[in-house]
Symmetry: C2
């Protein structure tokens, strides 16, 4: 047989020529005369690594919201944030006085960036205070707790977004377009893996299953679930999974490596992996008439795409700014949230199914 | 979290600088004063696509063997081969008179390139005729038939090689070295997929399960099994697998897409896929301190390798020439065959386990 496969040599040679091969959708900043609106005030709740190193700096690139406040359980952190981001004393809360944020008109949105199992209580308190809520992914640690969060926000009449930054990235939107519009025919096989070597960290993610709710699947594998879903535009109908552990004394109560397969109604299969002892960061989609993907696919910095081994170019999108700006427009224009609570809960349903399949060895069918 | 992952931009930028990063082993042509030996005569048996377009032209690059004869069930093919490769009439056989090859001192080796389920009868006839045997992969369609082939060759006192061309490729040997010498620490997670879109072909591979013995796993997935085995230097101790079919009327009696996971004693996991409706051709190894792989990994043309997203360079090795020359030296120097019959039978054991796991949904443990 001759495999009709372009070589890497061809790929690299053509990359430079074809960086602009595909026009990526320019989805943002085109939603009307929003420059007239005041920027919504966002308070970050939970000042860990992600809030500190990704979210706070990203407000330098937002057009429809601004960093207005902080809520922290570590008051010693307040001083440096106050100075760095000119946050007024009135907009600084701790976990005890947080509920009084309801009286602060300068704060429109609370972005919950705590460990996973604390998302629900803080999101619910924010909602009860009348604030719109962004909740970092994974939404929570069970479908039941996701549902409670949705209900709390509905009851309070506030909007809820899950921190799926990549749903607002043009490359990921292009994956969705290529699949759902069947540009290369029907999607047949998807490979995706997102892993990093984190087993020796003492962060709660790796040491406290009550806070994390699980291992790499909860933390980063969730991006592969997302990717497979929007690459097909479908919801999986059955799942198989396999969990592994090579270092038993680490990662208490959670998987070290997990593989899972998702079967989609249109005939596509996604074979995915997530691990705390590996180095992976890709999604690749095989359709009838070609293959395309992203590598790197899921990290914060530069992402790169390809179609049939020709580069789609690369970019370093302001993922978090795009995500928060989209939510600000959802609020000011009262439009539906793309990365909604329902979307977060859906992934939690698949995560529960993956864990069940790994535990039992059984194929888990999902109600349509 | 910050994922310590080089970007594709960095990867591509560095590729040119680091093409010579790793000295690849120069394993061939260093085995003594073999230039003094006459070239062994090889007869190709089964003049299909692979024999015609890959094996026959590869003799332009062999140093220790030459194309000396043909054995064909389609006598109308003989004329063009005779002219193109100057094959004497005495060295042209059909399937009826093939056994008389025993009296032909010009033929040392018979290379069996028939459909899979015909490998055993032709290999056994070649062995009984006193000829050394190369048998194309997959070795046969069951472990039992592989064993019969080994026994036939042992009984006849001839050597047996399986057509694992990539075992003789420097990139694949480098994969083995990086893993077994733990250059980047212990191997943890392997991804490999080899697939192509072949569902509409009427070749026996896709239409006749009695000849093929299976689908893409038998045909190309076997390279992923090989890759995972030499990337770890270990034999798998357990296997899970999942088979899929999206177009029921095609590929009778065989899988369309199959995913499988192999657990290795040292703690590594390989998650693999092979399909006749996809486009994949890679192996990626995550070890404790880094990741490396090949892409393209398994095809005939240019292969390319990388370590931690830096290029290992690329090459277009004469895979079949290297494989056949190595076998010729095994014969003239009476040394062990690397891609031995035992090696082919081992893969068949794993293929049977994968099919069993896919059929039953059970994890199949393998005796050590």
């Amino acid at each position: 047989m001759n495999y009709p496969y372009p070589t890497r040599r061809e790929f690299i040679r053509k990359s430079a020529q074809t960086a602009a091969l595909l026009a990526l959708p320019n989805f943002l900043y085109s939603a009307g005369p929003t420059h007239e609106s005041p920027k919504l005030g966002v308070a970050l709740l939970g000042l860990g690594n992600y809030a500190t190193n990704q979210l706070a700096p990203s407000f330098a690139h937002t057009r429809h919201c601004r960093l207005a406040g902080i809520v922290t359980g570590s008051p010693e952190k307040a001083d440096s944030w106050k100075k760095r981001y000119q946050i007024p004393d009135n907009n600084i809360y701790d976990y005890d006085n947080f509920d009084s944020i309801k009286d602060n008109p300068d704060i429109d949105v609370v972005y919950v960036v705590t460990p996973n199992a604390l998302h629900l209580p803080f999101a619910a308190r924010a909602a009860r205070a009348g604030k719109h809520v962004i909740c970092e992914k994974p939404m929570e640690i069970s479908v039941g707790r996701c549902r409670q969060m949705i209900e709390a926000c509905e009851k309070a009449g506030v909007k809820l977004q899950i921190g799926y930054r990549l749903q607002y990235d043009p490359f990921h939107q292009e994956l969705k377009r290529l699949g759902t519009e069947q540009i290369y025919g029907k999607v047949k096989v998807i490979h995706s893996a997102f892993s990093f070597y984190g087993i020796n960290s003492d962060n709660w993610r790796f040491t406290d299953p009550k806070l994390s709710g699980g291992g790499p699947l909860m933390d980063v594998g969730i991006y592969c679930i997302q990717g497979a879903r929007y690459a097909t535009g479908e919801e999986p109908m059955a799942i198989t999974a396999q969990g592994y552990k090579s270092i038993p004394e680490k990662l208490p109560g959670m998987e070290e490596t997990i593989c899972w397969q998702m079967e989609f109604p249109g005939g596509a299969v996604a074979n995915c992996t997530s691990s705390y002892v590996a180095h992976d960061n890709h999604i690749r989609v095989s359709a009838e008439k070609g293959a395309y993907g992203l590598y790197p696919a899921f990290t914060y910095g530069t992402l790169a795409g390809y179609v049939n081994d020709q580069s789609m170019g690369e970019h370093s999108h302001h993922q978090q700014a795009a995500q928060m700006d989209a939510f600000a427009l959802n609020i000011t224009q009262d439009t539906p949230v793309v990365a909604s609570g329902e979307e977060g809960m859906r992934d939690m349903k698949y995560i529960e199914a993956i864990y069940e399949a790994a535990r039992t060895g059984e194929r888990v069918e999902l109600p349509g």
